[in-house]
Amino acid sequence: MPNGKAKDRFLKPLVADYEELLGRFQQTESVRFEEFTAIWRNMGFSSVFYGSLAGNEMREFCHLTLTMAFNYFLPPYSFQIRVGGLYLLYGLYHTQLASPKEKIRIALKDWEQIQKFYQDSVNSQHYDAVYIIRKLIAENAVLYTAMPQMLTFRVKKKPQHHKVCEEFRDRPERVKDLISTDMLQEVANIQGHHERLKASVLERSSIAVTQQDLPARLHSCVLEFLHWQDRHENHGDADHLVYAEEKAQQVESSNRAQLLASIKTKSYGCLAEASKSRRHRQVEMDTSISGTGYIKEATKYHKSRAPSLKARTNKNLCGEGDEQKIQYWLLSAAEEDKTACKNRPMPLTSE
């Protein structure tokens, strides 16, 4: 079906372009529209619609661009990225070449989030964001729908979920969500109730089953965590601000150094495996090099945000697995024997 195939083809490069644009916007650390348009003009983003698209493809492409861009306007992205998403929608809506213009679809379930975002922008006095939202609604650029996309029950096709870009994700507020002020209030109430019941039932109220100051301790825990998060975040940002230029070069050189180091560790990793007779004396791999957290692939822009807890956990627990994969079939081959490097299954021979 032409619709399905076209969509898949256009999807990946389009998302790559968006993430490039939003990544650069994130780097500017601001939410001003002027910054955004500077990047837009720099990348020549209006030309994303150029090139003759046959027949209905232009309309479908415009529809796809708006749908994909809308994902960046919603949580779980950080506020800055959401503002970037809003500007992106505005830009795409006005530079699209389909006529009459393809509209931005807003589903009922997302309206709450958008209102919250609007309120946040008003409170923080981000005039340009507020103005742009109002302008989009005023110029009838919005379609109020049930669902963000048209659903045709395509079950067989692998559903294309929008992969949340990890660098754009907002700082998780899980602790705050778990222990909200309402919950603390509730706990304090229950505690008070329990104490009163205890006092009325028992003569000796010195027995304490629960911790007396539970709400206060929970509250202090949450505050401590938030302060720690702030400090951690600011620490990362301060580094970036002070050592901007040198860091760039350092990052590049350290990238190269780490690449070399990783090649070395890989080679040591497979040849250091002792033979069967000496398995009890396994050589331990020096993981100190890879522990510095080298960036997996060279990116066009430098990552200034500290990796989130989730990313760090992932890397620490799951990232090492691949390097330690020992290549059994290379063990007994001589170094000069190039034919052994071909990926043929060979029986494991012991020396």
Partner: protein, 382 residues
């Protein structure tokens, strides 16, 4: 939980049941009210909002001075997005040289490949088919009574062809209709054109001129829709039977939740409780079953077709290749003959003229022994 959830999950807000596939069932009319509550009437009206009013409201809400407002407008205007100088001529048909965007790199590759092809393979029919969608865009009625009111719901419904043919297994041929929320299910039923409605049964070799009097659509008028456990029957005419009764009785004997019945003509789309993106059933002619999927529900917009008389609106229709006459290969086949000594194969298709010329003499007498059936080509609605 003692505290309860802080926000009650509103049942009328459609959410995904399976992500990106279909939603949970919700009531269409309540969905509409939910949207209309959240929006100001000016947000979904068809008129252009006056810029001065909008600016004044904005300045008042944010409490900013007029100079700041002007500066803001200049910064946020669309001109800042222009990537070329104003006087440079812009050819939007060509990918700009040295593209940096991934999308453009991919497109350039495709364009270069296309240039190497000698023939451009877009057929004329496909071209017109793509235009079908935009045919009715922006149409206003002459009589203001026929204007689609603001805040009206427009549904897009896909009706798939019956999956009885081999060739319909790998594609999903469908027709897309746009309906208003205030339409009833009978409007949808009447808008669905299926060739089984035009089938004429019976053997007509002796009386070839009487064929058009017996269209199935007039004979078998019963039909039903099935949405979310309710069968909606068409009971407009006295000869319509309740086709869903057999299914309901059968379900009672098995372990199924009870199904209900309702009348098609009394139900409007606003009264329905449906899932978006989920397949439902439309059955007519006794056994011709179509899968019906509601793909989209939204509020009406200025750029839609606003003429009530044009709804239900056909926006997409799958094109089926028609089978031509075995003799002339020009006209679409209208007659199917079997046991025919004149025909090269059995059964054989003929168009009207070739059929008459071959099988009947000038006076209309039947020549030879054969059986002839009127044939309706599936592509008759192209």
């Amino acid at each position: 939980m003692a505290a309860g959830s802080s926000s009650n999950v509103n049942e009328n807000i459609p959410v995904f049941e399976y992500k990106d596939i279909n939603t949970k069932p919700f009531h269409v009319g309540s969905f509409r009210t939910a949207w209309l509550e959240k929006l100001k009437p000016i947000d979904y009206s068809y008129e252009d909002k006056y810029e001065e009013n909008e600016d004044a409201d904005f300045a008042k809400e944010m409490g900013i001075a007029p100079e700041t407002l002007d500066e803001l407008k200049a910064i946020c205007s669309v001109d800042t997005l222009r990537c070329q100088a104003e006087d440079e001529p812009l050819d939007t048909n060509v990918v700009p040289p040295d593209p940096t965007l991934q999308t453009l790199i991919q497109r350039k590759k495709k364009q270069d490949y296309k240039d190497t092809l000698r023939i451009d393979k877009i057929s004329r029919v496909d071209h017109y088919q793509d235009e079908l969608e935009s045919l009715a865009v922006g149409k206003r009625p002459e009589d203001p009574v026929d204007l689609v009111p603001e805040g009206e719901i427009i549904l897009s419904i896909n009706v798939l062809y019956p999956a009885i043919f081999e060739r319909f297994r790998y594609v999903r041929p469908h027709m897309t209709l746009q309906m208003l929320g205030s339409h009833s299910l009978v409007d949808l039923r009447d808008a669905i054109c299926c060739i089984s409605d035009l089938q004429v049964f019976g053997e007509f070799s002796n009386t070839p001129d009487m064929a058009p009097d017996f269209i199935s659509k007039d004979h078998f008028k019963s039909a039903f829709f099935y949405f979310e456990g309710v069968f909606y029957n068409d009971m407009r005419h006295p000869e319509c039977q309740d086709m869903s009764e057999t299914t309901i009785d059968w379900a009672k004997t098995r372990d199924f939740p009870t199904f209900h019945k309702a009348n098609m003509e009394d139900t409007r789309f606003y009264d329905l409780k449906v899932k978006v993106g989920y397949p439902y059933l439309f059955c007519h002619q006794g056994d011709c079953e179509h899968v019906v999927i509601i793909t989209d529900i939204r509020l009406a917009h200025k750029d839609d077709c606003l003429d009530r008389k044009l709804y239900p609106l056909l926006t997409h229709k799958h094109r089926v290749m028609t089978r031509k006459c075995a003799v002339c290969h020009v006209y679409i086949g209208r007659w199917l003959t079997t046991n025919d000594p004149f025909a090269p194969n059995d059964p054989c298709l003929f168009c009207e003229r070739c059929f008459r010329m071959l099988h009947y003499d000038k006076k209309g007498n039947k020549l030879g022994q054969f059986l002839a059936y009127p044939y309706v080509d599936p592509g008759a609605f192209n």
